[in-house]
């Protein structure tokens, strides 16, 4: 059960009511304008009350909202997207979409983690959880971007890499490790958009880039709150507590310097105005690319190295406090 969908219910009711009154207003002789204005103010208040300051746990559910724009919604908004398929070795993984397109006039390669819109679609997309062949397809596209000197733009939205038998047999670890390595050294600009859930190594596998953009209510975490709770306390039901502690919100990650730019979302989340959010995200991508394209390949890769090199939080002790 998505907590946001639950919270939205009175709001949805209210909005249905307003829509009904508006229709009446047009067709009847009685003037309902005042009532409509009052209800609209009430709705605004309710929205603010519910969504004005979402908790981390609410943000987790905003990031997972069934109506939230998915990777393909962003990609389809590009010009002339053509999908390229397959890892050339085992299987075309529908949880990862890849191809080429134009961002305005700029030719780019794109990779996205794609969830489904409904149950059937989600089964097909494996809930956005890639198998090794998904990451290997991504590596192929990364290499193409490098070879043809086209920037790479990625869209992260996954609970994480799929934990299953086949995935382990075919080397989930190796697939992610290799993706990380390809991205770290890729001699072309890489823009990363965290548009939904950024879960663990499965997200990072398409997440090493020169400019990291995160939607306001997206999450980015070392593990999904459920997995973290399970790992920490062997109790997945303490996910809300984990969400609170993990610092997985865009403002915290921006403060940490892990995220370079946060795209504000409409009150209530990206699904309240997908068009605007998609537009703003792609505009940010373009602006970032404009700057990055001025750099030489060497400068670009050096800059990326330094960017990740400095992430950490450690201190040098003056003496050894261990008991050895």
């Amino acid at each position: 059960m998505n907590v946001i969908v639950e919270l939205e219910k009175p709001l949805v009711e209210l909005e249905t009511k307003i829509a009904g009154l508006k229709k009446l207003n047009e067709t009847q002789r009685v003037d309902f304008s005042a009532e409509i204005a009052a209800l609209e103010e009430k709705a605004r208040q309710l929205k603010l009350e519910i969504f004005g300051n979402p908790t981390p746990w609410q943000r987790v559910h905003l990031a997972r909202h069934p109506k939230r724009p998915l990777a393909m919604d962003y990609i389809s908004a590009l010009d002339g997207f053509t999908e390229l398929h397959g890892d050339r070795g085992f299987r075309d993984d529908p949880a990862v979409v890849a191809g080429y397109a134009y961002l305005d006039d700029l030719p780019i390669f794109v990779i996205g983690e794609q969830k489904g819109r409904d149950t059937k679609d989600n089964l097909y997309r494996n809930f956005g959880m890639p198998h090794p062949e998904g990451y290997r397809k991504a590596q192929r596209i990364m290499r193409l971007a490098e070879k043809f000197r086209r920037p790479l733009v990625t869209f992260i939205d996954t609970p994480g890499a799929y934990p299953g038998i086949g995935a382990e047999e075919r080397g989930q670890s190796e697939a992610i490790a290799a993706s990380l390595k390809v991205l770290a050294g890729l001699r072309t600009p890489v823009i990363v958009n965290i548009t939904g859930e950024g879960g663990s190594g499965g997200a990072l596998a398409i997440g090493i880039g020169d400019h990291i953009i995160m939607l306001q209510h997206s999450i980015y975490s070392v593990a999904s709150p459920e997995a973290a709770a399970s790992i920490l306390w062997r109790d997945a039901s303490r996910a809300e507590e984990a969400a609170q502690r993990l610092r997985l919100t865009s403002d915290e990650l921006f403060e940490f310097g892990i995220v370079d730019e946060v795209i504000p979302e409409p009150l209530g989340g990206a699904h309240q105005d997908p068009q605007r959010v998609i537009h703003d995200t792609l505009a940010a991508d373009k602006q970032a690319l404009r700057k990055l394209l001025r750099l030489s390949q060497e400068a670009l890769v050096d800059r990326r190295y330094e960017k990740f090199r400095r992430i950490g939080a450690h201190v040098e002790l003056v003496h050894d406090t261990a008991a050895r």
């Binding site: 890499a161 382990e168 290799a178 770290a184 190594g201 992430i311 950490g312």
Partner: protein
């Protein structure tokens, strides 16, 4: 690089915990083993050959020719999330230091292995389950960078439950940081050899663990991306025999070889010589 006193002498200074039992039970065959014998036999069960998990310092003693110059020995976590659950993260760390005699879950330094000057990093599962946070990421990166400067090969011995939850996404970013270092190092034509020991999972297997030019798995080690428990909960079906064992991975093409602990130093030495010796002029 900090000049460090002789490593083995330092190990001698480690106080034997008072409550240490004299006997250990083999988790594989159930045999009751005398701890002193076990240590002498490199922590391998004399009955069934089971490889017990090894402390980082014991592993270093096993692999290094005698010298070991530790790098960044005093690096400690900055607790970036100021994490606390049943107790503050800082306290957990303090406890682990006490228990393990280590400041963090990896020890890195320069040594010789069978005569080859090498960078060596060894993780310790007994410290926070060998999880990788800022310090592990930083120390592994420093080691790789130092070896790039000195044009030395790197051997990384992994034992890890993955990224350290208590450092959140900062821990996740250590995958990126160590990978970036490994990538640069590799582009110089230098060899990275990884030795995956029991257990190696999550963020460590999905970064430098599987980035080795040659990947060695220690006999019987459990190796994978997702933990068995997570997989069990997700798919709710019987796992294949030997799933995620070193031998299973070998069969599935994931590792170059499975090596017993007694053979490990020899195997590494031969490989290091092969990869680094100047080719004989023909």
């Amino acid at each position: 690089m900090a000049p460090t006193p002789n490593w083995l002498r330092r190990r001698g200074a480690k106080p034997e915990p008072q409550n240490d039992a004299l006997w250990e039970m083999c988790p594989s065959c159930g045999e009751r083993l005398y701890k002193k014998d076990l240590a002498e036999r490199l922590w391998i069960c004399s009955r069934c050959g089971h490889h017990f998990r090894l402390h980082a310092l014991d592993r270093i003693a096993l692999l290094a020719d005698g010298d070991f110059h530790e790098l960044a020995p005093l690096l400690a976590t900055g607790d970036p999330l100021t994490w606390s659950d049943r107790m503050p993260y800082a306290n957990k760390i303090a406890g682990d230091r006490q228990k393990s005699g280590l400041l963090e879950a990896v020890v890195v330094g320069l040594c010789t292995i069978e005569g080859v000057r090498t960078g060596l990093g060894v993780m310790d599962f007994f410290f926070r389950g060998g999880t990788m946070g800022s310090v592990v990421g930083e120390k592994v990166t420093l080691l790789i960078e130092e070896c790039a400067r000195q044009r030395l090969p790197v051997v990384l011995v992994t034992a890890s439950g993955g990224a350290r939850m208590e450092e959140g996404v900062i821990a996740l970013m250590q995958l990126a940081k160590t990978t970036a270092a490994a990538e640069r190092f590799s582009a110089l034509g230098l060899p990275l050899i990884t030795v995956l020991t029991d257990p190696t999972t999550g963020g460590v297997s999905a970064s430098f663990g599987f980035q080795g030019d040659v990947i060695i798995a220690e006999t019987g080690a459990a190796i994978g991306f997702a933990g068995r428990r997570v997989i069990d909960q997700t798919i709710r079906q019987k796992l294949p025999e030997g799933f995620q064992s070193a031998e299973f991975l070998l069969e599935h093409g994931q590792v170059d070889m499975v090596v017993r602990r007694t053979e490990l130093k020899g195997a590494l030495g031969r490989l290091l010589h092969f990869l680094t010796d100047k080719a004989v002029p023909a």
